[in-house]
Amino acid sequence: MSKPLIELRNLTKRYNNTTAVDGINLTIKENEFVTLLGPSGCGKTTTLRMIGGFEDPDEGEILFEGKLLNNVPAYKRNVNTVFQRYALFTHMNVYENVAFGLRVKKIPNSEIDRRVKKMLKMVDLEGFENRNVDSLSGGQQQRVAIARALVNEPKVLLLDEPLGALDLKLRKEMQIELLDMQRSLGITFIYVTHDQEEALTMSDTVVVMNKGVIQQVGTPEDIYNEPINRFVAGFIGESNIIEGVMLEDYKVSFDGMVFDCVDKGFAPNEPVDIVIRPEDIRIVVNPEEGMIKGRVTSVVFKGVHYEMIIESDTREYLVQRTKMFPEGSIVGMNVQPADIQVMKRGSTPCNEEEG
């Protein structure tokens, strides 16, 4: 895409005896929408707060346009933040909240007025200038928080689970609005969330974190289709994770059978983890036509599809299909070689258990 804007090098943060962020390296480019994704306590918010200047790293460097940012106080960084619970100034009205950053910078009143009005128009809050922020709904407070940050025309906007407190419908709307703003303003967004769907919907790049360590960096498609390890596969979407052995290039064995796959570059007979997404398992009525035979033990209607659990001799498979097969029926299952994702086992210093 374009040139690097922020670089994190071996960034580490410890609290007492726990390591919140453990030596992460990451390059964020201009105009990129980067999402830090992971379960609570994975270090994503801490990373964001170090970029914002609210936490001092114990080790490592933060570079902004090639310059060291570590010792620059938060108020001198060309970065603005949308906080988790908005953190609006309750003693000021909407207008003054948005104008705060510009007033601090001693910008002439006429320009403040122009920029604040333009920003309020952009977030759809025209006519709310004199309202007390306490009298606004959650969604409106969120918009004030976004306007208050964006009015300063930062190079980077940091968003710390900004939609966490909103209901599902509003959240979906805001996701689209945020994306529109990011595209039209050409600002780099660094977005923290634990919601994998939100991450996949909005990002150019998803950074999956666990226990202070980056697990995988990639486009949403990469992350979903080719998870690098068990943790990423389990965290992003639903999946069947199976232990197997890579016999040779393009041949993987699990459950006593050998399957064709598209992966290579493993040692002969290397133990691996295999991911098969539930929607990638095809069901055939005649059990003999399937690679794997199984019995349907549970059927749940999910709207767009049926979610079925099919028990083979060795394990249970989670399968999502638009066509329903009744409980108790014996069916066959097929998987395309491209839908078998083979992952190195223990390739990153993480473990699967974690809330």
Binding site: Y75, F100, V104, K105
Partner: protein, 280 residues
């Protein structure tokens, strides 16, 4: 609702006997003159109030408000930073620190004032230390300086507590947001922290000023009659001069002035949006 209302009856009776009736008696005495032990001898008069207007007494009232005002200001100047320090202290040590400032009020008020007497008196501890160091004697007691010191010492916790409470409730992310938007520490304090802590300042001022303006113990013990305050004057009228009418008039005047000050303070408080109500 009806039945719950009945629970308030004893309280109502208590209020009538110990607050309403005495108040009306004071009001009654302030507008009369004559022998207080002989109801028939009492007649309507404004002499009590006229006496309040005599320059010597006006000066006492003025002194009281001035001393109370100065001590409130000193309490605010000392108390605000202290409250800020406590609020910003690590949670582990915060309660310890807070307790250190509150412990003095666990001791009897009179006892504390007597302690200051023996510290400050012409041959007291302080002066003996000064003499031992070869420094000149400090003669602040009896006098206004000692009264001021006593007021600040006694009432400081009442300034620290409400300000601390408000400061500790301010969401940390609001302060971070101010930094994030380019506000340095001074700007963040002036535009965010100070305005948000106004309710604490207002109740602190009220809680210090009111007891300070009506105290007679501190001025009596540490002022030694050199700086009589309105409280001393009232006490004197009831206990030694036996002029209940003048004492009552003084009390009513003091009460009215306190009510006016409270009204002004609550106005300042209300002019700020009520961030207190917001729960995060």
């Amino acid at each position: 609702m009806q039945r719950r209302g009945r629970i308030a009856y004893p309280y109502t009776v208590w209020m009538v006997i110990f607050i309403v009736v005495p108040l009306f008696l004071i009001l009654f005495y302030s507008f009369t003159e004559g022998d207080i032990h002989n109801i028939k001898d009492l007649r309507f008069s404004l002499n009590g109030y006229k006496k309040v207007l005599e320059p010597i007494y006006l000066k006492v009232i003025g002194d009281s408000f001035l001393l109370a005002g100065i001590s409130t200001l000193i309490c605010l100047i000392i108390g605000y930073p202290v409250a800020m320090i406590i609020a910003n202290t690590d949670a582990k040590y915060r309660n310890l620190l807070l307790t250190l400032f509150i412990v003095p009020i666990w001791m009897n008020f009179l006892l504390r004032t007597y302690a200051w007497m023996s510290l400050l008196s012409p041959n007291g501890f302080l002066n003996r230390v000064l003499m031992w160091l070869g420094l000149p004697k400090l003669e602040i007691m009896p006098g206004k300086g000692a009264v001021l010191l006593g007021m600040v010492y006694n009432f400081l916790p009442f300034m620290i507590l409400p300000i601390y409470t408000v400061l500790s409730k301010i969401d940390k992310s609001v302060i971070e947001a101010a930094h994030d938007l380019g506000g340095n520490n001074v700007v963040t304090f002036m535009r965010i922290i100070l305005p948000l802590s106004v309710p604490g300042i207002v109740s602190g001022i009220t809680m210090v000023f009111l007891p300070a303006v009506s105290t007679f113990v501190i001025s009596g013990l540490l002022g030694g009659g050199k700086a009589p305050l309105i409280g001393d004057l009232i006490e004197q009228q009831f206990l030694s001069s036996r002029n209940w009418h003048f004492g009552s008039a003084l009390s009513i005047i003091l009460m009215i002035m306190i009510l006016i000050s409270m009204a002004i303070m609550s106005r300042i408080d209300k002019s700020e949006p009520e961030e207190e109500r917001r729960k995060i």
